[in-house]
């Protein structure tokens, strides 16, 4: 049987809205009703909803760091004692408001979806796992989440919003909580402020430095970085500023990361679209190793790059892009016979899925990379213009600045 992802998403949204509406109709007027966005904000920052009592959404998705981790760990620690390592680098939650459900395009290209493997069809679904995963907030089930929610300081506001009896049905209350989170992440301007230097440049209000302009050109040029082939840099069809992703998936052959505890097992492989977290495409071996193309907005503020957080600086990440095929020995282990064990984070049978056709991956060992070190620096200068919270007076950007700037109009109308 086939299912339509967009219908699924709509159905879930309808269900969530109905839940909110029905429960709100039943609400007591003892506490003034707030709105779902504000409730979502409170839930997002509430440590008490985790088994440890010390972890909220904001712990990993730090608003001051563009809703991404503040530290440089490849994967974050969670669980009741905050000592259980995760499996993938935590992505930023910014600019997900324009993401779409996972689909295969007409030509078969996988596109859209939430999480690095696109398995969640919307933010409502995406918000479920962090509450329950053993390496994250580690609640046993929805009932445990709701039990903690019932004791939250904003529990009365939750009742006012979703109904006096909302906590009587754990599944419904969990759905309502995730609905509030989804509303917050979708509608709060701080998640998509579009206030980077590049936005000012597109609007004709800012000028880019010569180095930033050079980097922009190298980023776009099909014969150089060719970054824009996936990280689209032109305005969207509706005229909105670019989000620097085309929402597709790619297999890059990022080196195996020993910083992830799971890799101690030689049989463990994170294959993205075809598993192990995502299960519906397990038979699509041609998709193994492919992960979602992320937005590059705020990429210069990250401390762990790619799905497994192998690289910790932007320069190292860019060097990997352009030197992976020209100097592979930099990134992969070299055997006793001198052979380089390329794409070592994939089983040998699946290494043919790695993208080796497009620029800049079309070079071979010994050839000059598509970008020199100086050109990489230019591209990094450009990528820095994608950081939120730009201040023209100091020519600096800080995602935390966006939070303050959006306080007066925190919600998108």
């Amino acid at each position: 049987m086939t299912t339509n992802p967009s219908l699924q998403m709509r159905w879930r949204r309808v269900l969530a809205c109905l839940a909110g509406a029905v429960l709100a109709f039943d609400a007591l007027a003892a506490v003034p009703a707030t709105d779902a966005v504000e409730l979502g904000r409170k839930i997002f920052h509430d440590d008490s909803l985790s088994a440890s009592g010390r972890m909220s959404c904001a712990t990993c998705h730090d608003p001051a760091h563009a809703h991404a981790p503040a530290n440089d760990l490849a994967v974050q620690l969670g669980g009741a004692a905050l000592d259980v390592p995760g499996f993938r680098a935590v992505p930023s939650l910014r600019y997900l408001n324009v993401d779409t459900p996972f689909v295969f395009q007409k030509d078969g290209t996988p596109s859209g979806g939430f999480d690095r493997d696109g398995r969640a069809q919307d933010l409502l679904e995406q918000a479920q796992r962090p509450f329950l995963a053993a390496h994250e907030m580690a609640n046993a089930d929805a009932g445990e989440v709701v039990a903690r929610l019932r004791n939250a300081v904003y529990a009365d506001e939750f009742r006012a919003q979703f109904g006096a009896n909302v906590f009587d049905d754990s599944d419904l209350a969990f759905l309502a909580a995730r609905f509030a989170l989804s509303e917050f992440e979708t509608k709060a301007v701080e998640f998509h402020p579009f206030d980077a230097k590049f936005d000012g440049f597109l609007a004709g209000k800012q000028t880019l430095s010569p180095q930033e302009l050079r980097g922009f050109a190298l980023f776009n040029r099909p014969d150089k970085g060719n970054c824009a082939a996936c990280h689209s840099s032109t305005r969207q069809a509706n005229g909105a500023p670019p989000v620097f992703t085309d929402y597709t998936y790619d297999s890059l052959g990022v080196p195996r990361n020993a910083q992830i505890a799971a890799t101690a097992d030689a049989e463990y492989f994170d294959l993205g679209l075809c598993g192990p977290d995502r299960v519906d495409l397990a038979a699509r071996k041609d998709l193994c190793g492919a992960f979602k193309v992320p937005t590059l907005r705020n990429v210069a503020t990250r401390h762990a790059f790619f799905h497994n957080g192998y690289f910790h600086t932007l320069k190292d990440a860019l060097r990997f892009y352009v030197q992976r095929d020209t100097q592979p020995q930099q990134f992969y282990t070299v055997g006793a016979n001198g052979a380089v064990d390329t794409f070592d984070d994939l089983p040998p049978a699946l290494r043919g899925n790695v993208n080796m056709d497009e620029v800049p991956y079309d070079r071979h060992s010994g050839q000059a990379p598509r970008l020199s070190d100086a050109e990489i620096d230019d591209v990094i200068a450009f990528l820095n213009t994608l950081t939120d919270g730009y201040d023209p007076l100091t020519d600096t950007a800080d995602p935390a600045r966006s939070l303050a700037a959006t306080q007066n109009s925190p919600v998108e109308k």
């Binding site: 007409k106 004709g204 010569p210 302009l213 050109a217 776009n220």
Partner: protein
């Protein structure tokens, strides 16, 4: 105006039908004088008939194809008679016509890209509300199949109301063909040489180019035809710097075809054609429009397109010679292109093209004939870009040069079989690969 046009068409047809026997110049001049006299007599007769009709209350009269079709100077032979929509009397109010073409292209160095295509099928109609008011429309299907999963297109190519204010001038309103060049208004497959339309009048003048608006038209006794109009224009907000459509045809990638067209910035156009000597057409036109269309998201509000062209065509006996030159500019693109640095297709500052073509009706059998031709074209869709910071600007496109040799075989004046060979002096997928062999069949009725 129409009777004058019809008379001219008859004269040209007679001239063309005279064939190679008129090689002697003196005889030709004498015949031209005779034809002029006959044309004058015909005009008087038509005028007299119209005067008689004016006394009668407005009743439907015989409709004719839109001026774009009627004024089309066929490659040879007479213009097709519009088919009657119903089997009524001789004064039908509604008329149907149409044309179509099927093409085969075979790039010699890329045989895998050989392609056969039902290029287009067009049905046209007109309806006369009264003697002076008509509506004309053309409905077109391209590439055989149109659906969400196919590449075909279904479109309204023309749809306008025409009202004659006097016998020799009037107004039109609706979706109209822009009166530039030799091909745009006369794009039926029987009206041009070669399987494909020439590159200059597809890449630079984006035939079939139409805009919605209001236009005035008319003609003088001396053979001067004019057309001025105001209407919609292209939208630079549609420019896609990541795709190659803008390199294949700058205006073709941003014209709106009156499909929910953004219409803040009107366009203006004007065209003059002189047909005072039978067989000769000399003309030119200008189109200008701002391209921003009120877009507040992109720095394109000051951009302006100006496109001009001049052309000439001389048909005498078995010979048919023509030439055209066109040049376009788009101003104030620097700021917009700065936001597209490094992308493969920035907006050009200038683009141009020109061609010279010679055809010779080599063989003739009753209503059939074979016309051979040769055409040389040069064009550049991005001859220059506005300056960018040093080292960051895009290089101008190379000028394309194309030789085309071939033949049109007219089974009758309304059915044509075509064959040609095209040699491209620049390898580009958007235009061709080195050389191409083409076959085609076309018709109109």
């Amino acid at each position: 105006m129409r009777q004058f046009i019809n008379s001219g068409a008859v004269a040209l047809a007679l001239l063309a039908a005279a064939g190679p026997a008129q090689a002697d110049e003196a005889a030709l001049k004498a015949e031209v004088e005779q034809l002029r006299a006959e044309v004058a007599a015909l005009k008087d007769a038509v005028h007299e008939m119209q005067t008689q009709r004016s006394a009668v209350a407005a009743v439907p009269v015989a409709a004719v194809a839109p001026s774009a079709t009627v004024t089309a100077v066929p490659v040879a032979g007479t213009a097709p008679a519009p088919a009657q929509a119903s089997a009524g009397g001789e004064r039908e109010a509604t008329t149907l016509w149409g044309y179509g073409e099927l093409n085969y292209n075979h790039p010699s160095a890329h045989a895998a890209d050989a392609q056969a295509d039902l290029r287009r099928a067009v049905l046209g109609f007109s309806h006369s509300f009264d003697e002076s008011t008509h509506v004309y429309g053309e409905l077109e299907w391209e590439h055989a199949v149109t659906s969400a999963d196919d590449q075909g297109e279904s479109e309204v190519e023309q749809l306008y109301v025409e009202h004659a204010l006097a016998p020799n001038y009037g107004v039109r309103a609706g979706l109209m063909l822009v009166p530039l060049g030799l091909l745009n208004e006369h794009h039926e497959p029987t009206s041009y040489y070669g399987v494909e339309r020439n590159f200059v009048e597809t890449a630079i003048i984006p035939s079939t180019w139409r805009e919605g608006g209001v236009a005035g038209y008319g003609s003088t006794e001396g053979g001067l035809n004019w057309n001025v109009g105001i209407g919609t224009g292209p939208d630079l907000g549609k420019w896609d710097a990541t795709a190659d459509e803008g390199r294949a045809s700058p205006l073709g990638s941003i014209h709106q075809e009156l499909q929910l067209a953004k219409a803040r910035d009107p366009s203006l156009w004007g065209a003059l054609n002189w047909n005072g000597i039978p067989g000769l057409n000399v003309g030119g036109g200008v189109f200008t429009a701002k391209l921003g269309q009120g877009n507040t998201e992109l720095p394109i509000d000051d951009t302006r397109l100006t496109l001009g062209e001049v052309h000439a065509r001389w048909q005498s006996g078995p010979f048919d010679l023509s030439g055209l030159y066109t040049r376009g500019t788009i101003s104030d693109t620097r700021a917009f292109n700065l936001t597209l640095l490094g992308q493969p297709t920035p907006v050009p500052k200038s683009f141009w093209g020109g061609y010279a073509q010679g055809a010779w009706r080599a063989l003739e059998w009753d209503r059939s004939y074979l016309a051979t031709f040769v055409r040389y074209e040069q064009f550049n869709t991005a001859a220059s870009y506005e300056a960018q910071p040093q080292g960051l600007g895009a290089a101008a496109m190379p000028t394309q040069r194309v030789w085309t040799v071939g033949a049109n075989y007219y089974l009758n004046p309304n059915v044509v079989f075509k064959i040609d060979y095209q040699d491209f002096r620049y390898d580009a997928a958007a235009f061709g690969y080195g050389a191409r062999f083409d076959l085609g069949v076309g018709y109109q009725f």
